[in-house]
């Protein structure tokens, strides 16, 4: 592991991280190793986010650095890196009628760096698409996001649709206007205030 690279990414030193990536690859370091360093760095950023040392700008910018490094690494990759062992599958999306995605994207980011295999259905997602996605990939967890109170009703309907089609799936909800009262109203299994809560809940459910 190149500790310098891990540190540069985790500390969000974009130029240094990019330069280090290039020089490591030119020196013949395996691209898979570089990607491992990225994962380790993201882990650190995620931990800082959890402990409130990092916030949304830091997550977004870390993602931006990661994207650049991935672009640089690509030509060096003989074959796709074999994905590490995943904790579990999560299907996530913003419910029908709501087109907000910033909070949801952060949850996706945090779940992914914590080892979940996340299928992101995007925004304005009808109940049937959640059901269909769960049936297709056998996810054990569904995350429903909503930023507007207009999301309450579709959330409730989506929970009902999932309950009757795939009763074993666990459902968590989150977003600006969500609290325990709305969890009870929609019949979801859990609710979260932020992306850290989402990770805690999902880990609990897979017994990690």
């Amino acid at each position: 592991m190149a500790q310098e690279l891990v540190q540069a990414i985790a500390d969000l030193n974009e130029k240094e991280a990019v330069a280090l990536t290039r020089s490591l690859l030119e020196k013949g370091v395996s691209p898979l190793e570089v990607l491992d360093d990225c994962r380790a760095a993201m882990q650190i950023v995620g931990e800082r986010f959890e402990s409130k040392q990092a916030f949304i700008p830091e997550l977004i910018f870390a993602g931006e650095i990661l994207k650049q490094i991935t672009e640089i690494v690509k030509p060096y990759l003989q074959r796709e890196a074999t994905a590490g062992k995943k904790l579990g599958k999560v299907v996530i999306g913003t419910v029908q009628g709501d087109i907000h995605d910033i909070g949801k994207n952060i949850v996706v980011f945090m779940l992914e760096i914590n080892g979940f295999d996340v299928t992101d259905l995007g925004v304005d997602v009808p109940a049937e698409r959640f059901v269909q996605a769960v049936k297709e990939n056998g996810a054990g967890i569904v995350g429903l996001s909503g930023f507007l109170t207009v999301a309450y009703e579709p959330m409730k309907q989506t929970v009902q649709a999932l309950r009757s089609a795939v009763p074993e799936v666990k459902i968590m909800i989150g977003g600006g206007p969500i609290n325990e009262q709305i969890r009870e109203y929609t019949g979801a299994d859990a609710w979260g205030k932020n992306a850290v809560d989402a990770v805690v809940i999902a880990k609990q459910w897979v017994g990690a």
């Binding site: 949304i56 700008p57 709501d98 087109i99 507007l148």
Partner: protein, 445 residues
Amino acid sequence: MTTEWKTMTPEQKYEALWAKFLSTEGKPFASPQVAELYRRRVQRLKDVCELKKPDAVPILLAVGNYVAEYAGISHGDMMYDYDKMAEAILKFNVDFDLDYQVAGNGLPGKAFDRLGFRTYRWPGNGLPKHMPFQMVEDEYMLPDEYDQLIADPEGFFLRVYMPRIMKSLEGWKMLPSLYGVMELPMALILLGTLTVPAVQEGFQAWIDAGRLAAEFFAAAGKAGAQLTFQHGMPNYLGGFTKAPFDIIGDTLRGTRGIMIDMYRQPDKLLAAVERLVPIAIQMGIEAAMSAGLPLVFIPLHKGADGFMSTKDFNRFYWPTLKAVCEGLIAAGCVPFLFVEGGYNERLDALADSPLPAGKSMWMFDYTDLAEVKKKLGNWACFGGNVPVSLFYAGTPQQMADHVKKLIDTVGQDGGYFIAPGAVLDNARPENLHAFIQTAREYGKY
């Protein structure tokens, strides 16, 4: 603005704006009783703003889509059928017997169609009738355009931003510098550009949009006047402006864009928010002066807890927002800050860098009001904190309990109003009735 106005002190301007708002002279009130009801309600607002104890806790509502929903019309009708919209506004305010009128999310949809707005989707433009309008996040200003924005914000809006976000104004990309009008021969360049069909089409769309919007303003104005003069319900929000950071972060660079800029080009971002301060002040003053009332609504977005560190809040967000508030206060206006999300981690920063006492109002969503009272209570009038979820999924009893508890804990000394934590888009009527009734009975001093 009159010469007299220009020579007045901020305090004189403040008093003059409130006096105008309070005055019932020569206004067509239905009866002296209604006029008195109106005057008392405005006085109540002025008293809390000045951190005094009025006759009762003012009950303020911020209502969005619920107006349409309660009246049983679609969000599409709220933007396209102005008669229905006006009826819905009247029904909502009268049925709930509000103290201060609200208008909900009525907007001139036809005018927006004519302009071809791309930053929003609404019922009639990409969304079905039963869905409310929503913003589309994107980079409407590119990362390398800061210099242009900073050098000439209005020029940037005219020739770059507006053609980009409004389909009908695409031709305005070609508009030349307006300074040529100083001399007849130099004005030829401007006139030459005006011969271009795409440029003409932009101006035509602008004229058409004005005509289409007039219908909307007539209907909304009539409903508003009826509520004021027949029911004594003042409209409490005069103007509208935004925090400079949100101006750039919401609809220019977008959330992702501005947050990357915080790292990649912090100096440009800081210069840009600085540059926008006088513009944000001007925007608020213009609207407040034309409405003739002092309160300027400022919805706060990206400075909330969790969005950025308090260190960044103190660097990128609060200094320019504070400057906007101070500018408004210097003009006699009252910034009404609508603090969406939580500000629990920001209270110390605000307490360390306060606004003049008794000159601003703060409506909080998830912020602990007991802490607000402790930390900001000596200079900020505040309220809020009744969760929108309680309006939607609670019971009237739960609502009554919550309202009483708030008044007991933070509402005993004045300087306080009661309000929902956020804009109401959905609610159960019985819960909203319980909110108003409890606050009215329990909030008497």
